[in-house]
Assembly symmetry: C2
Homo-oligomer: 326 residues x 2
Amino acid sequence: MAHLEGLGFVVDGFDRGSYRREDPVEIARLRALDDARALLIVRDMPVLRNTANGFDSLMPISEIEALGGARVEALLGFVANGAPIFVALLPDEAVEQRSDLSDGFLDRRILVVPGREDLKLIDLRSVAVGGLVPHQQAAMLAAAKALMHWHARHGFCANCGAPSDVAAAGWRRDCKVCKATHFPRTDPVVIMLAVEGDACVLGRQPRFPKGMYSALAGFVEPGETIEAAVRREISEEAGVACDAVRYFASQPWPFPASLMIGCFADARGRSLKVDRVELEDARWFTRDEAMALIERRHPHGLTAPTPVAIAHHLLRQWAYEGVKFG
Amino acid sequence: MAHLEGLGFVVDGFDRGSYRREDPVEIARLRALDDARALLIVRDMPVLRNTANGFDSLMPISEIEALGGARVEALLGFVANGAPIFVALLPDEAVEQRSDLSDGFLDRRILVVPGREDLKLIDLRSVAVGGLVPHQQAAMLAAAKALMHWHARHGFCANCGAPSDVAAAGWRRDCKVCKATHFPRTDPVVIMLAVEGDACVLGRQPRFPKGMYSALAGFVEPGETIEAAVRREISEEAGVACDAVRYFASQPWPFPASLMIGCFADARGRSLKVDRVELEDARWFTRDEAMALIERRHPHGLTAPTPVAIAHHLLRQWAYEGVKFG
């Protein structure tokens, strides 16, 4: 997928080994292997190790116990050379909040592992945007973070309220009271570029960096197709009626556990009615403007998301290559 | 989408009115309108009314109280003429299990509403396959069933174990103890036809009707793209390595709450290694055989799914029109 160069959290050649999850003896054997490694998550953040060559998120298994033991552990899968990769959710108490005065005047709150200057907690979005770890590690961290976010917020059985137990090497939770089984959640989200002739619709949420516009997005609801969700979201948020919808590509987006489904939508016209509850603004951009956003030379200083996000690739594909419907 | 003729649970022109869910006064006003109607769900089954013209699932709102009141109610949306459609989850006790001796010798257990000969409970799969209600009603029932299945099994907060409350006109559950908010779950599932030259892979699960083969399928996991999930599932279940993946179409599949994402996968060769835990069988079918399956004239009596299922359309598209990758 050369046209998706830089798309974050996407990796091939990682074997999840899902068929091996049901055998606790095998899991213990894999965990004891010399080449086994662990990704560490605490308070929704990955733990990185500062090395001479930059950051590394793959830790020796022994770090799990050194940092207070795991609340939950999972077998994430196997890298190409066969080494098993685990993920451990550390207790919240493994880290402390401190003031970061490193830039001299701005008092930011950061998380630190007490007594471990070699470890650093950086939110996964910044890790990916900054390219702080190899692409494959960022992708493994995405799966790790989404899975551990689910465990952290699903300690109880939604069916009966009893505490539930981790099962299947971290990929299931079982309730011993009502016998319900619970699987990790992945929320499908449509993210779409509505286009009409030489223009497309972008919007901005209040939380976006200043001047950034992106593709609109929203959750797929029960009983809805991808295509219907695209049409509904673009209509609700921007008042744009669309006909044909064309799938483009997908991306895991672990904030907290979304599957981004990127699509183009064929707009009927250039009407616009912005939902000011959801969006700070939305507008039509010409193809020339879209190129200027991507190339960071827009006359008003506006920008588009970086290549980490699928929105960048939707915009790039349409601006430079065009899109055909039907 | 003429090429998806008969695809079940898919409808356009139904307005979910999601922006109106937060106003309880407005919801009460809509519910009191003369043209408001309710879909009824009990024990995962839709309640149908027997009329002179066949079955109807749209009931007067008054039926909710007549049948014991709702455990949960939701505003599903609005049909084209603006009439609001609600869905009510009835208490399990609203129905009784009886023996069905209607065919003279086979004792099947069925659910009935005591004293209401005009009402019938039929599982939604049979409703759709049999075309028992208009296409749009089946699609609304899919959303209704998925949403009510979620409520029925999520009465407690997964974060703290306390009972949670219905909010947002039935589209959210709030925990007043830990303040967590919970949204209905939709599970993305990939369903794929791996093809190589003039052949494709189909498999059968033990629960399938005798002789039926279908496209393979599996849940998308946290941190996984649609494309990676397709390649993983076809590799795990059938031992077939695939390169390019092409999206085809999507379908809500409320058993219990899936979003089926239909794809084609470009197989590297015709190897096969069937996972006998997941599948009873899998095999390569030629294009001629695929046509015979669809047209119900396969020499060994084998069949493919009906047009209700997206698997039918994947197979039909490939067999009669072909598929291009890249």
